[in-house]
Amino acid sequence: SFKAASGGTGGAAVGAPAMPLASPLMGGLNKKKKPFLGMSAPLGYVPGLGRGATGFTTRSDIGPARDANDPVDDRHAPPGKRTVGDQMKKNQEDDDEDLNDTNYDEFNGYAGSLFSSGPYEKDDEEADAIYAALDKRMDERRKERRELREKEEIEKYRMERPKIQQQFSDLKRKLAEVTEDEWLSIPEVGDARNKRQRNPRHEKLTPVPDSFFAKHLQTGEKNTSVDPLQGQFGGLATSFPGGLNTPYPGGMTPEAGELDMRKIGQARNTLMDMRLSQVSDSVSGQTVVDPKGYLTDLNSMIPTHGGDISDIKKARLLLKSVRETNPHHPPAWIASARLEEVTGKLQVARNLIMKGTEMCPKSEDVWLEAARLQPGDTAKAVVAQAVRHLPQSVRIYISAAELETDIRAKKRPYLYGLLVSFELEEPEDARIMLSRAVECCPTSVELWLALARLETYENARRVLNKARENIPTDRHIWITAAKLEEANGNTQMVEKIIDRAITSLRANGVEINREQWVQDAEECDKAGSVATCQAVIRAVIGIGIEEEDCKHTWMEDADSCVAHGALECARAIYAHALQVFPSKKSVWLRASYFEKNHGTRESLEALLQRAVAHCPKAEVLWLMGAKSKWLAGDVPAARSILALAFQANPNSEEIWLAAVKLESENNEYERARRLLAKARSSAPTARVFMKSVRLEWVLGNIDAAQELCTEALRHYEDFPKLWMMRGQIEEQSENIDKAREAYNQGVRLWALEKMPYYNLKMQNLILLESVRLEYRAGLKNISNTLMAKALQECPNSGILWAEAVFLEARPQRKTKSVDALKKCEHDPHVLLAVAKLFWSERKVTKAREWFLRTVKIEPDLGDAWAFFCKFELQHGTEEQQREVKKRCENAEPRHGELWCAESKHILNWQKNIAEILVLVASKIKNTF
């Protein structure tokens, strides 16, 4: 087909013949006469230049095909470089030392200086001066004659060709006669053109409307109608646009009726749909197009140079529709990604293929393509994902190995793949395969271990022995062997195996790394092999530690084990530590705290029994034991423990008081009384007296209490709590004067001795109380000034700051709280104040956060707990309320203004913490 020369427009008109003899080919067609044929060129026309063409050079021996005045190829060259001549000049300037023959002249030598590259020295300068003088002299010799001659020549030339200026000189002379007015009144030329001519409009192009076509079709010949059901898309595609371009080609069946453009568009869509659905439903049996073949076609359509944009667009569109109609067809995704890759849109390609992996996760090819397209680390991640989806695909493992760079890493994917494939097999087959694998690859620990896992006990032992022979330097085999023995009940073997492991590993030159072994032990613990874990810890724990660091390091190890959740490990470490340091109280304490937190009651009690046997002087251990028993409800056992404790520490105040508490809490007041009497006689301390007084007081024996108090004060008259109690008792019996007297005396005595030490705290409290006094009296101004002064005096007092925040008006509270936090950011009172502030602003989550912070920083502050509890009662769920109460009980707070008022009240003396908490919380009024 000869499409090229005619430009592919079919039978379009061709130019008219230049000569009278017309070609028969052109004869019958509609002629468009070329206007330029037969015309002569404009004067001085340089062929080619008119259309901006540039020449070329193929045969340099003939010389350049370009004239010096020709423009250069670069159309936007700077001025001075715009013609070929300029460029050539520049080239010549560039190479100074052009010793070409063309530069040589018989007389003058080379055109430039031969020595221009050398340094310019003094003798050069002298020579130049001499030459210059010579030139000047020669110039002056005939100067007059020469100048005269030049002048004559110019005059002669001017006579022949006068300048325009000279031609008009006679007329110009008359200009002298023109007056100023005349000169000014010369009319302007003006623009004679009309507006349209002056402002030429741009050409407007409007698409031909459909109605135009329709009209012409009605009047002229008719085109074929378009039947969407015909399915002859080839015919549709060619006949119609052709018909529109060359309006009425003959030979088509004339047909009446209108041409509906909208219908044509619909028909096209229908056809495309039909075609694509034909492609997709290969199941229904109606397919004409093989999807695979279709896609291959699409693949072959992808241009290699990315040159033809329309091709790419078409391919993109087709692939898109394939993807949409059949998203679970992997080749569509791959082909799309490849197309984008070829066109250079790598990111789009990656996105596409990742989407493909989502749609077709079971297609190996898609995964491989994704791994290929992604860069480095992402590719590894993709492969990892692929392995998860297709654990049996060999090609994915291979590609994973290819992604790794060093040899060791390369091995890993293969190995992993092998193991996975074994796991997927029937155990029997896997065993056979693995035994072959270990033969081939005896240095791979993983394979040995996998084989051992699959074998029976007897065989596994054999396998592990063999493995040990092959790899004498790996500890995992030993540990696995130990686990195996433990799992089969040979606990006594475990110890032996671990010991042998250490000796044999040492013999083979392996350094025993304590951390690694401890880690292994933790893993054993997690796997449930307790005995192995303990054996490992026992064997390894002492290795590589200095004598004096032992205790310290072990405690740290135990803590880290607890943090990792390996409780058995920690227990083993403590057990070992206790064996080495049986008389260290601190180790016993830590171990018992560990048991208390993580162990059972039985284990704790057993441990404490051993502990008190070793350190009978440690009261805390005794008390812990007693408390554990008591909490379990076993009061007689607690009593017996305390009795034993008395034997060990006969005069211990702590134990006495613990015993009293035990009795009084269990309502055995008589026993408690007797105990206290005994205590008073054997260990008459202030606290014992105080407790005795209190017991009487709370039991309502005021007289006895007063008696005891007087007696106590005889012994300990500088004990402030006794004086306070006395005052309170008097107050309660409404003897105000006596109470005041008691307080006064107490203050006097106490002030004498302890005043200097309590200075700062006292000051804070006094300042606070003075501020409150004024506030209560309703003098807000004074209270504010007092507070400002107080804060100047004690800028680090949290209580004052907390009070100051709520003294402010509502809008200023926030800034004040920020100031307070700046000054004392770790003060529980300030944190509590901030929490309350948020609470008052109904910022519930933030308030909760700050409450939590407060109780974390100072769990002993009862007020904080009470506020928190109240807050949760108002805003929290039941779960949260319970949580707060539980935590409060664990924290056992004892301080705080509001808290103490309730907890120390004699009516509440037997209440537990949860009850007090609720009580305090209910007393709080949130009026801020």
Partner: protein, 133 residues
């Protein structure tokens, strides 16, 4: 057969001819009608073309180095399309193309390349050995 083809008599006409076509390849044969090489070439060109422009004697068309008895050049949208024929001169065909089909193929290649915006196309056939012995 040169009288069958439109003639361009001066450089201006050549330029106008090149400028006048929007979407067709312009094939111009530079040379004299009486030249035997040109005659053979014209025979081929005529037989394949509805339209080939020829330029008998534009002596002053300096930029195209017209030293040969017969030169055929291709233009598309005022752009000189070079064609790699294997002879070393990519600018033009300066010998007689005897085979009709070969000429058609070359023109077709030129058209396809030019439509894609290329300035240089590769001839379907290598003429280096054939032309030089």
């Amino acid at each position: 057969m040169s009288y069958m083809l439109p003639h361009l008599h001066n450089g201006w006409q050549v330029d106008q001819a090149i400028l006048s076509e929007e979407d067709r390849v312009i094939v111009i044969r530079f040379g004299h009608d009486w030249d035997p090489t040109c005659m053979k070439m014209d025979e081929v060109l005529y037989s394949i073309a509805e339209k080939v422009l020829q330029c008998p004697s534009v002596k002053n068309f300096a930029m195209y180095e017209l030293y040969d008895p017969c030169t055929v050049m291709f233009f598309f949208r005022n752009k000189h399309i070079m064609i790699d024929l294997g002879t070393g001169n990519n600018n033009k065909i300066n010998w007689t193309m005897e085979d009709k089909q070969e000429m058609i193929d070359i023109v077709e290649t030129v058209y396809r390349g030019a439509r894609k915006g290329r300035g240089l196309v590769v001839s379907p056939k290598d003429y280096s050995t054939k032309y030089r012995y």
